[in-house]
Symmetry: C2
Subunit: 207 residues, 2 copies
Amino acid sequence: MPPRDEHDYEDRRQQIIRGALDAFAAKGFDSASNKDIAEAAKIGSPGLIYHYFRDKVDLLHQVILEQMPLIEIIDSAEAMMDRPPEEALPEMARKLMGAIHQWPTVAIARVVIAESMRNKRVASMVSDIGPGRGMRILATYLERQMDAGRLRRMNPHIAARLLVGPIIAYMITGYIFEQPEIQSVLPEEMAKQTIESFLRAMAPDGA
Amino acid sequence: MPPRDEHDYEDRRQQIIRGALDAFAAKGFDSASNKDIAEAAKIGSPGLIYHYFRDKVDLLHQVILEQMPLIEIIDSAEAMMDRPPEEALPEMARKLMGAIHQWPTVAIARVVIAESMRNKRVASMVSDIGPGRGMRILATYLERQMDAGRLRRMNPHIAARLLVGPIIAYMITGYIFEQPEIQSVLPEEMAKQTIESFLRAMAPDGA
DNA sequence: CACTATTGATTGACTGGTCAATCAATAGTG
DNA sequence: CACTATTGATTGACCAGTCAATCAATAGTG
């Protein structure tokens, strides 16, 4: 059954996806009802959702697939493979921090993390397109820098986590647990210190 | 109304708490029904839950309060305040990794993080007794070591996240996203590398 | 020591309500 | 007019929490 107009169809679909993201971010996937979604998306009826999506889980999957902004960042990171860490890492951090400051990133992160926590299918889907792919690319990059003698040699997957871990800890303690001591530290400051420490720890033995 | 037998009462209560933890970890707080909990706890009826707990949220709170194994670790960490990092950090890591190997730790982490994501009351409760307190104690310890000249001086809250972050990243990528590359790295290895890197990065400038 | 009263523990049925999903009817469009 | 888009009512499942009734252990009594 071809849709009446390809563009209208896609616009409507996106409208529902964006509304669903708002609703999921506000209430979580389970607690956001189709009525909530319909209201957030400004469509007249919950029933319409089923014209565009198989079911609620399908809608969640489409939201995740089409709204994960990390994907472009990971792509751009892939282009930096041969630049030395002192340049490439701050550049990546700058892009990442820029993304964090935008609403959809935080919203989608909430949804994705909460849902990955208890749904293995979502977790592996998310991992494939987002964090998993990102970590793998980062590890490849670090390994190449080790080969080039610019970093001390070690398991690159461990090294990737040494680099990314502090930022994750910063985000969890700051954004989720809202610990007051860390609120006064700016993201840029945290990124700078993390990279500095990483490079210090990973300096080649000869240096 | 005192219970017939204090021990029986407490045993039953714990039985329900453990069952609830299993159910919450498997399905999440909202999706786990009282029937699920009753089955997991091997009690005959969902109604019995209300003999021991005010409501479902009260049950969640009790699960978190009584099953967060981090609490003892934090207590023991407080005793190490004056020992040098080369001794104290591996000791803390050993205890932490021991906890990670046990099922309840990962289960409770799943529940707690997912729930903190959308419930600020739970988030701050959790933060007060677990991660928040732990991070604060760690920061105090690190600051004291900086004062003693055993570590390079920097914001101790950032330093605490530099140390703990990689372990968190290791847990999230390994246990929640189940990324295969990191599965072959043993927790002990990860802890050792993290501490080594941290000490390298934090070595006093003069050294 | 036998018998009964009392009390807490446990059950299963029930209630008011919510929700995802379906569907028949209608509006709109090419 | 043929076909899609949209609506709103409906269905059937399920759920948190309540409650009356039953069960089992203990305490009290003569």
